[in-house]
Symmetry: C2
Subunit: 263 residues, 2 copies
C-alpha cells in the first residue's frame, strides 16, 4: 500500500495523487448476534453521523481489491468474501454542502485540509456497494483515521447515516432478499451449531416478515443441507430444541446449482 501523505489534519490523511478521482466503495457488513441481524458502522469524527466502512481506490488497485483493503483497514477483518451488489451514481448523492446545510456535518472535519484536497473530496463520487456476512465473535473492528467509533447496530435501530448510506443498506437488503429465493447464502451468519428457531429469526430479519414455524422448518429441512445433531444425554427429560450444523459439501453443491425453479 502507498503511504505518501498529501494532506493531514489531526490524524486525517488523504493521498489524492495516488487515488482515482470520483470513485469510492462502501461495504455493508452483516453479522448476527443475540438473535438480531446487525450492520457494522463507523462514527465520523467532528460529526454526529455514522457511515458504512468505505473509502477510495488507489490507481494501483482493482476496485474489488480496494474494497477488500478498505474492509481490512477499517475493521481488522481479513479474507472476507465481498459480494458487489449495486453502484450508486445519483448526481447529488454525496454533496458536502448539502450535508453542511442540513447541519449534519461539522465543517471542522475538513478545516485544515489544503484547498486541492478539499476540492477533491468535495466533488461528486460514484460509489460501488459490496456486502459480506461475517462472524461477529471472530472479528475485532477498529475505527479508521476518519472515525472515532466502530459499532454493530441492529438493522431495526440504525443511527443517522451520511449521504445516501441508508439507501445503500436498503438496496443491499433488497438484493439479499431476492438471493434468498435461490441461494441460502446468509446461513454463514449462524454459529457452528444452531436451532431452527435461530435460523427462522435470521430469515425473518432479512425478509422483514414473520414466517410460519412448521412450514419454514419443513421447507428448510427439505433442502438437505442441515445435519441434526444428537441430543446429549442429561439424565432428565430433555426439552431442549435440536441443534443443527451445515453439511458443507451439500451446502456448496446447493450454492452452485441454486434452489427454486430449475429447467
Amino acid at each position: 500500500m502507498i503511504n505518501k501523505t498529501r494532506s493531514k489534519t489531526e490524524d486525517i490523511e488523504f493521498d489524492i495523487d495516488n487515488l482515482i478521482p470520483g470513485n469510492s466503495v462502501d461495504c455493508v457488513i452483516f453479522g448476527f448476534e443475540n438473535q438480531q441481524l446487525k450492520i457494522l458502522l463507523l462514527k465520523w469524527k467532528f460529526s454526529n453521523l455514522w457511515t458504512l466502512p468505505g473509502g477510495f481506490i488507489y490507481k494501483t488497485d482493482d476496485m474489488d481489491s480496494a474494497a477488500r483493503r478498505i474492509l481490512e483497514e477499517r475493521t481488522n477483518l481479513e479474507n472476507i468474501f465481498l459480494n458487489q451488489f449495486h453502484t450508486f451514481g445519483n448526481m447529488n448523492r454525496n454533496l458536502l454542502h448539502k450535508a453542511f446545510n442540513e447541519k449534519k456535518l461539522d465543517k471542522n472535519i475538513f478545516y485544515s485540509l489544503d484547498e486541492e484536497t478539499r476540492k477533491w473530496i468535495s466533488s461528486r463520487f460514484i460509489t460501488t456497494g459490496y456486502f459480506a456476512f461475517i462472524d461477529i465473535k471472530s472479528s475485532s473492528p477498529k475505527p479508521d483515521y476518519l472515525s472515532e467509533k466502530c459499532e454493530w447496530f441492529s438493522i431495526d435501530e440504525l443511527p443517522n447515516l451520511v449521504y445516501d448510506h441508508n439507501d445503500i443498506i436498503k438496496k443491499a437488503l433488497d438484493y439479499i432478499r431476492i438471493q434468498l429465493n435461490y441461494l441460502p447464502v446468509s446461513i454463514n451468519l449462524l454459529p457452528h451449531k444452531f436451532t431452527m428457531q435461530q435460523l427462522q429469526k435470521l430469515y425473518e430479519d432479512i425478509l422483514k416478515k414473520k414466517l410460519e414455524r412448521s412450514n419454514f422448518q419443513r421447507k428448510m429441512l427439505k433442502l438437505g443441507i442441515f445435519i441434526r445433531m444428537e441430543k446429549e444425554y442429561t439424565g432428565s427429560a430433555n426439552k431442549a430444541p435440536y441443534l443443527y450444523c451445515i453439511d458443507k459439501p451439500k451446502y456448496i453443491e446447493l450454492i452452485k446449482n441454486g434452489i427454486g425453479f430449475t429447467y
Copy 2:
C-alpha cells in the same frame, strides 16, 4: 443536453469539461430474431473492433439517466427499461496503449484530439453495465459519432470486442441466467404470439444448454402466465403448433413475487 464541443476530429466530439472523469456506462442490449438471441454492437471508426453501446456521464446526469441517454443517442431506442447488473473496475480494463500494442486499435482514432482530451480519454475508467431486452423489429439503431456501423450479432458469433466488453457480456448473461431461476423476465424478447418451441429456444440460448421438451413445457405452463390461443380453422388437418401470448396481469404479479422458493 449540453452540446459545447471541446475537441473535434472528423466528427468525433468530446465535451470533457462537462463530463465526470473516470466513469462510463456500457449497455448490453438483447434482442431475439430468427430463433436466435442477439446483442447490439457498434463498430468503432478507424479500427476493426466492435463495442457495446456506451459512453460518459455528464456532471448534470444521474448515472441511470446517462445510461438511458446513451442508449437513446446511440440506438434511437426510447423508454427502454435498463437493468444495472455489475460495475467493472479492474485497473487495466481499458488501457489504450494495451489495445494499440495488441494492434486492435488504429492510433488514427485519437490523432487530432487535443492533448488534454487525449489524456482524459486514455485514463482509467470504471464502467457500470446495464442490460435491456428489446423488440428488434420496433428498433432502428444508428451508429454514434464514434462508430461507422451498428449491427445485431448472435451471441454465438460475436466479433472482436474492445477492452473487457466480452467479459461484460458474459457477466450480463450470468446475471440473467440466475434471474431466470426466479423471474421469467426475458419473455419480453418474444413476439406477441409465440410457440413453446420459440420460448424453449430462447431459454436454451440464455442458459447455454439443451432442455428436455416435455419437462420444459410442463414447468412453463405451470407458471400460469401464458394464454393458449385457439387455432384458426383452415379446413384441413391442423398440425401447426399452438400459439401462446402472455397474460399481462398474471405476468406482472409473478414478476413482483418471483417464482421458486417462497417462505
